[in-house]
Subunit: 407 residues, 2 copies
């Protein structure tokens, strides 16, 4: 497998783009030189890079492709909308239908709004919490990702101290630390922003303890703070109706994005009636937000996720994959550690604090035609059949040997 | 003309969406009750609402539809890209081609990045200016719109004082005020963010004076501050190569969006080689940003804008419209005031500080099948022929009478 065309394109890119490829898909976050840098075509759970290499895809565009690339029903719905035009002076009826669909689907939701990026709405939710409470402070899980806006970016460039003057972090699952923050900032906390489980980069995923979820619910209630669930990565992937139902969170606001429209650009926030008027006071808009095609795609995707019981399917497919990969690791004397829900698993080599052996394994997986990321959770796709998983495991067995396992 | 279906949909919307319709397309910003609230279909320079009313469209989705709805070449390019997939794990070669295209087109640009919303990149440009200069302060035209992020939103909800601790406003074209701000904050100004001309809502547009442009260029240079041109609304509409060339600005960073891809969701920022490394340190990303279809649409749109000399066409078409409408106003004894470039004109009734007569005129225009906005600049489309303009003027002549002009 060679990446000649990827590398040539990257040299061109580096001349005209800061960093060549920026953001979460930068090759620097994976295993530089051992992975494709540019994609050409996707189909189902596979994609082809610009060198003609084909991969079974365990990243799905870092989440959006929950049903697989080019899903015929989703594309037909989007095409039908697009054939009538885009970016109108007014929304189309699809806006209302989609809001009604979300309100019908998500138990606590009385209303919804839509944008393009997850961060459009995590940031807006923070502002709504401030508007509702007339308080400034936001509590956030240390290491949790909510976008690249100044208040939450994992980057270091371009920040000033005021960006985070009222942001306070605590370790995930640490009830005492969370209680201490609420106590220290009594009467000043507008909101607590959470991901359903902790899925930081460069670390194992961590599921919430029941005590932590209960404490989040209790402390928000006692202190009159809004609970904001950043369900951007997990939403409609772990359950059909929002990830809070899986773990028992009681959110006031939730933000959805990646699995909402199978790759079409749309994000959503949902909230409670008590905050609807305050939410209407936090101005929110963007140039392309009336575009009906992503709304049509979201309606289709939400229907398919429910009709085909996609979360159950992802859990079952993911379990087959995770259990199979763990067993292969044992057999090849390269034991692996799995974390996160089976639908969004993350596996790494055991006893590998530097991630060097995990990087080596992921590079070997790529060389065998399986795209895995060494530092970011993976995404099971509903397009994956048992045969696809077995194909992937067969390839990963060879990758384990190539990465230092027993032949 | 009735809006029964629009009104029925709005009642449904109000139940499940804060404000019913939020953002810049809220009917509250136009003439509530006298305009369509929901669109159904667009074609060329016309669109149809959900009640079956058809309008000659002078808003173009508030800017994006520079070539008109459903432009066959743009849609073909986007469709061809979409047929190969979306939201990949890596960018496609279109990312590099589009960056190269912009760098070739915009004289000062050595690099480019792409996002979804204009505000993704006006905000990022502010962060880049802070990263380059290691200074906090941003100077901004009072009343200029740069998006709905906390540092710049025209809204009032959800803000805390820290959001604008280092934002300082000055009146457009006021050289003395700008000089005073630079002097007062000497050594602290990271950037000056400008729109090419001043196009505030609820006011006439104002073109920049040559002295103001020269002062912006000189003061940024003398004080080592970056000049950020927010060309979101004007870019590739007034000229083929960025609006700074029309007025003489010397930007360090420019942001493009609305006319970039004829309605497909993409925005761009361009900058100078001297800032490329610093820009790479300001983390920037979003879930759907590798989607190739909007990049294909942007490449097609940029080519068409140049090939068909679209800015010249918009200027000529706009002049025919503005001159015709002004003459009709005189003839009907309802004199109008025009402002802004002919490609993005804004007309209102003379001596109308409350805008009530302008609202009445725009409502009458809508009733005659011409969509005009009483409080926001308009957008000429390249899909408009002389016959379309004459059709619009014929209708507007009736609207002037209906709005109180001489019969």
């Amino acid at each position: 497998m060679n990446f000649t065309a990827s590398q040539a394109l990257f040299r061109r890119a580096a001349a005209v783009i800061p960093g060549g490829i920026y953001g979460h898909t930068t090759p620097a976050a994976t295993v530089p030189g051992a992975v494709p840098y540019f994609a050409a075509e996707g189909f189902g759970c596979r994609y082809r890079d610009v060198d003609g290499n084909t991969f079974i895809d365990f990243m799905g565009g870092y989440g959006p492709m929950v049903l697989g690339y080019r899903h015929p029903e989703v594309e037909a719905a989007a095409d039908a909308a697009r054939a009538r035009g885009a970016a109108f002076n007014q929304p189309t009826p699809l806006l209302v239908e989609l809001a009604e669909k979300l309100v019908g689907r998500v138990d606590f939701a009385d209303w919804a709004v839509f944008a393009k990026n997850g961060a459009d709405l995590t940031t807006w939710a923070v502002m709504v919490a401030r508007e509702v409470t007339r308080r400034p402070k936001i509590l956030k899980i240390a290491g949790a990702y909510h976008g690249t806006h100044a208040w939450c970016t994992p980057g270091h460039g371009g920040l000033i101290p005021e960006d985070r003057a009222h942001l306070h972090e605590f370790p995930f699952n640490d009830v005492a630390a969370l209680e201490a923050l609420f106590a220290r900032h009594r009467g000043q906390v507008a909101g607590l922003i959470l991901t359903p489980f902790h899925h930081p980069a460069f670390a194992d995923s961590v599921l919430p303890s029941p005590g932590f979820v209960a404490a989040c619910n209790r402390l928000c209630r006692e202190h009159g703070a809004l609970q904001i669930l950043d369900d951007v990565r997990c939403g409609f992937r772990l359950t059909t109706n929002g990830s809070h139902t899986l773990y028992g969170y009681a959110p006031d606001l939730a933000v959805y994005c990646k699995a909402l429209a199978n790759g079409h650009p749309i994000s959503a926030a949902a909230g409670r009636a008590a905050h609807q008027v305050a939410a209407s006071r936090v101005f929110l808009t963007g140039s392309y937000w009336n575009d009906p095609a992503p709304m049509a795609a979201a309606l289709a995707t939400l229907d398919i996720v429910e009709r085909d019981r996609v979360p159950e399917r992802l859990e079952r497919t993911g379990s087959r994959f995770v259990e199979g990969f763990l067993a292969l690791g044992e057999r090849r004397g390269l034991p692996l550690v799995a974390s996160g829900p089976a639908a969004m698993p993350y596996l790494r080599v055991k006893d590998d604090p530097s991630f060097l052996r995990t990087q080596r394994l992921c590079a070997a997986a790529v060389a065998e035609g399986v795209f895995l990321h060494p530092h970011h959770n993976w995404f099971i796709s509903a397009a994956m059949t048992d045969a696809d998983i077995d194909d992937a495991l067969h390839r990963l067995d060879r990758a384990l040997v190539a990465a230092g396992g027993r032949a």
